[in-house]
Symmetry: C2
Subunit: 586 residues, 2 copies
């Protein structure tokens, strides 16, 4: 037995007790003939005292301890003279009478403190030291609790956690699969799942009624910021359930998590918004509704022939920024530069100010009569002191640009407080998405998504208008999860495949198993999946999902700590019947 207590455990109630602790040396101070050591473990920090007068040898031994040395100490708990209210063990200290060195430590390449001197790359290379920092450790503790509470809630709702296979079949549709060569079936490959979608639907066919799984998924994508090649989903599916059942159930899960982990309670139901409204008022399918500044459409108020830029634009819209009429020319120029950045790609920014006295001034005064401008201001519902910002162009494109502007302004105004949570369900997603490049429709979610029965007549006539029974759970502008009611009717499913350009052969080759399964009494079913990494980073108020993953990969998909991926033996390649052919010029 290495210890009787942890470093976070001792209190005044332990006074006089002989105890044994083990942990890491966080800090060592010599003061007035005394040596103080802060001993750290996962549970806290305990102050150790060595008296150079009374125990010269022991104190001398302590004086040679370095940062991050691992020690075991025996001693007696006593009350501190100067208490430390900041730590749970701050009332006591331990007078050491035996010190055992368990392991030495080389000098760490950065300080093991919340505010460390280590840069990102260095910390990732020595992730096992980075993880010792309390702020990083706490993220993983939160992750554990969140996963555990998720399981507790779903178990209480009769969900069964069922493991689905990792070595599955590759489906060329969608994002790229990671593949795994099979030695026992030479020339053939498994794929790692992008999600257990088909398996969870098969489990519904199998009668499991309520399934969930907290499960790793894999996508071989070019990694944008905050994407990981492997990520974790809370994957769920319910039988005999409609959209309302699923939304109620998983709103319940989110409320349970907020209550148990953050002690936050929401009054009433989460608001809901159609995808159409989300685009119209926020320019995004994941609007941040912690604050207002909904889009206002202006095109109908603008007489033609005055201002060519607006005349040529099918869409003119803007936001009303409260209290910012006093923005300087420079501030507005900065916003204009922001929307002109290539990532956003706007042509420019029009402004109208209504100052504290109600006086109106704008960058389009010379193009329009004061009456027109006044009508715009009225449409905005602007109060004295407000700033209106207007953009124009193609509708969807401009809405997206306005969305970026709205978020930027909110950021500047401090309206995106990470401790405030504004949840939302976005519903009525379009079933199909038009792809300009290939000039065809694709499934917005996946080919198993149920069209809204009201819109089934539009399937052949006006695909773009067909709404689906799909829904996303959005909080603070982040899509935390989403799902849909699935098609359980073979004929409708066949029709969907056809609409998505699958020949019967191709559909069978890719989805044969589920197509067959649906012949044997598939129940109506619906489900969704949450991104666990995203929920944890939102709860931990992190900027990146990377900080809540124990061993993340970098943007090149590399684990720099273990140095993976790496080369493998020729013998192993030979067993797999593979040869590598690198492109000649690189």
């Amino acid at each position: 037995m290495y210890r009787t207590h942890t470093c976070g455990e001792l209190r005044l109630s332990h006074l006089g007790q002989e105890v044994t602790l083990a942990g890491w040396v966080q800090r060592l101070r010599k003061m007035g003939g005394m040596t103080f050591v802060d001993l750290r473990d996962r549970y806290g920090i305990t102050q150790l005292v060595f008296d150079q007068g009374l125990q010269a040898d022991l104190a001398e031994q302590a004086n040679h301890l370095g940062r991050e040395y691992v020690i075991q100490v025996q001693g007696v708990v006593r009350e501190r003279e100067s208490k430390n209210a900041k730590i749970a063990t701050g009332d006591i200290e331990m007078v050491v009478n035996k010190l055992t060195l368990l392991n030495e430590s080389a000098l760490p390449p950065f300080t093991i403190e919340d505010k460390t001197d280590g840069g990102d790359d260095l910390r990732m290379q020595y992730r096992y030291l980075d993880l010792r920092r309390p702020c990083v450790r706490q993220n993983l503790e939160l992750r554990h609790k969140l996963a555990f509470e998720t399981r507790r809630y779903l178990d209480s709702q009769n969900f069964l956690e069922i493991e689905t296979p990792f070595l599955i079949k590759s489906t060329p549709e969608g994002a790229r699969d990671f593949v795994v060569p099979s030695r026992m079936n030479p020339g053939q490959f498994y794929a790692l799942p992008q999600s257990p979608q088909q398996f969870k639907q098969l489990l519904m066919v199998a009668g499991f009624d309520r399934y969930f799984q907290i499960v790793k998924c894999f996508r071989d994508e070019d990694l944008r910021a905050d994407r990981q090649p492997e990520f974790t989903q809370i994957d769920c599916e319910m039988s005999y359930a409609d959209q309302e059942d699923v939304i109620q159930m998983f709103e319940g899960l989110m409320k349970h998590l907020f209550k148990t982990l953050k002690n936050i309670e929401f009054e009433g139901d989460f608001p809901r918004m159609t995808w159409e409204d989300a685009m119209k008022y926020y320019g995004s399918d994941k609007p941040d509704i912690r604050f207002g500044m909904k889009f206002v459409e202006l095109k109908d108020l603008l007489p033609e022939g005055n201002f060519q830029v607006f005349d040529n634009a099918p869409y003119v819209g803007g936001i009303c920024v409260p209290g910012c009429a006093s923005y300087s020319r420079k501030q507005i120029d900065q916003l204009t530069d922001f929307v002109k950045r290539s990532q956003i790609g706007a042509q420019g920014l029009i402004w109208i100010k209504k100052d504290e006295q109600g006086q109106i001034k704008s960058s389009i005064d010379k193009f329009y009569t004061p009456e027109v401008i006044a009508a715009l201001v009225e449409r905005f519902g602007a109060a004295n002191g407000d700033l209106m910002l207007i953009m124009c162009g193609q509708m969807r494109k401009t809405q997206k640009q306005l969305c970026a502007l709205r978020l930027e302004v909110a950021e500047q105004l401090g309206l995106r407080n990470p401790s405030v949570y504004a949840p939302l369900w976005v519903v009525d997603f379009p079933l199909f998405e038009w792809d300009e490049e290939t000039q065809r429709f694709y499934a917005t979610h996946h080919p198993f998504t149920m069209p809204n029965p009201e819109d089934i007549p539009l399937l052949d006539s006006d695909q773009g208008k067909v709404r689906s029974w799909a829904y996303d759970c959005v909080i603070n502008g982040v899509e935390l999860g989403g799902g849909s009611v699935r098609i359980h009717d073979s004929e409708l499913q066949a029709r969907m495949f056809k609409l998505l350009g699958f020949t019967e052969e191709k559909a069978l080759a890719q989805f044969g198993c589920i197509i067959n399964a649906f012949k044997y009494g598939a129940p109506p079913h619906a489900g969704l999946a949450f991104g666990l990494d995203r929920i944890v980073s939102m709860f931990a108020e992190l900027d990146s999902i990377r900080d809540c993953i124990a061993f993340p990969k970098n943007n090149a998909g590399r684990d720099v700590m273990i140095d993976a991926p790496s080369n493998i033996d020729d013998a192993q390649l030979e067993e797999l019947c593979l040869t590598i052919q690198l492109p000649e010029s690189k």
Copy 2:
């Protein structure tokens, strides 16, 4: 909303209520103007009644339902005339007043009953139908509960579940890795983890103190019976813990699982046995101690020059089978044939009988004096009516053969009752294993296993004798889990690598990350891993782990349901810079 209740929910307390159910048609019977339908879901079966006299149309509709059709019914709960005590809803039935067909079903290829007419291959191909059978469903329900209770126990003991990566670095040592080509790092590969061994040790270095994870692991082995290329581990590690701490903690877990899932309580501690004794008395490192028949060694009692077979054998040992002196010549011949099978490879079997009257007879009467035979019988401690079976040869080889014989006899005598559980810790495993083929020592477990400090002086002189601080949890002859105290001292670790034939370069190439990590204050730590599949199949009293896995693979590593592995697109291969070269003759 598809239903107000499930098919397992209605009781007499619901009499007269208007309810809605949904589920699968299990069975349909017409009797005396009535149509009875058994409606099934995961939760149970409810009897539906249609009166052909009162509701002719509805009954007609019901009469057209086929097996496994999916329906929704509205109706009123009433008391049954003839109750069915075998099912929880057996007191009531539902008089249907509305029937909605939700989905049809083709005729299933086998009956959806515990006793099905479907063969193994067919059931695997249609696994989603096989899973509808209550006996299979119950295995997965048990698996869910077992995983959940494991998490509940470990959470209560301050363990954190931490996800470790799936895309890691290949290590040529040990079993074969599955590898994953990296598109973003052409020519390089990730490996799928055989276990998170190095990561959990890094988490101890990182100060997480108590880690666990229920996690998929992967091994590209030629599949023997009851092995799966992907399997699930309960993987655990503790800091500042010695062997005793780990054994206590996980004996606690096993007791918790037995109590909560099987309502079985064990008195006192699980027994412990050294590896040496396990081999000596049971010929196995995972002895089944539900019954006796410990090995008895006889060599010293046998004078030389009488019986060449024994004279030439360095080891002579046997078991005493209680009450089987009456075995016929034929029965003993069958046992002899059993041990002579090539899988066991014994030369023969010697027997001694002590009949009910105490008369002794044996197959070696002509070689030894009655006094020698009597001495053997005494050593066996045989009672009247017992049968003694003796084998000889090289010690370890013969012990293994005796082990097979002991288990076979116990099987025949019905001593291997799957509802009886006899747990055991096997300790003091040898640190090294001699490999005849390569004529060198290998690590019995892995290179991080701590040698018993008492035996460290033997490391250079007598490697084979060095005991390790490694332990297995064995129940009923099955190794459910095992682990070890790990080396936390860099120097000892370096010495181990050297003893195992690693050059410094090779050790660094394979284990560089952990070798470096250990420089920064590695705490003493120890851990273990349980095979979840094995625990579940033992708790469910199954013959094969396959039955407790939702979507298992067959012995060729194939998922016959989804047809994986399969060929992938040339384009995908090209992106991965790979070409396939199948061996020409196959």
